[in-house]
Symmetry: C2
Subunit: 113 residues, 2 copies
């Protein structure tokens, strides 16, 4: 991942509603959520939400598939992983004070699975 792509992904998440949308979608798991339900849940107008979803999608953080009249949005785990990897990479240049605790967090939460 290059810096411009990282900036795009960070910009996508750097918005109150979009970050909330992303977290909601991540927690929904592989099944994802229809746009309408997200709009209702977060009290955002459907057309406004649509533009937010487009931005998150273009940044590689979410994916969409159509199901009947609904469009289902789900997390792009690979995109999120790439972004986190990019951010973490900076601390690996001799600065374990950041990523050592992070390793614990990531490990402990995954171990519980």
């Amino acid at each position: 991942m290059l810096l411009p792509e990282a900036v795009e992904a960070l910009s996508a998440l750097a918005h109150e509603h979009r970050l909330a949308v992303f977290r909601l979608i991540i927690r929904a798991g592989a099944g994802g959520l229809p746009a309408g339900e997200i709009a209702r849940e977060l009290d955002v107008l459907p057309n406004t939400l649509s533009s937010h979803l487009t931005i998150l999608g273009h940044a590689g953080l979410i994916q969409s598939r159509r199901n009947g009249r609904s469009v289902i949005y789900s997390a792009d785990y690979n995109g999120m992983r790439t972004l986190l990897g990019f951010l973490v990479a900076d601390c690996c240049d001799g600065h374990p004070e950041i990523c050592a605790p992070l390793a614990e967090v990531a490990q402990s939460c995954c171990a519980s699975e």
Copy 2:
């Protein structure tokens, strides 16, 4: 960390120059870098850089101390750790496909220290 603070930190990093500044400062280690050197390195006007540094500082990602005529900026490891923790926390709700690989990355880079 609450959502608004996360948005502020993400917004601070969601800018080509600011992200570059942050990475440069992180790699500089605890010694940090004077504002002027950062400006020269990234070819940004001193006053423009100053506003970027203020934004990163207010977001809790960097710190500053004065040394003579220079102002030295260094990374706020705790702030960065908090942001990464916030982002990773989302995947811990039963989605190890994100944080499992992240745990490896974080662990391997810290192990080499």
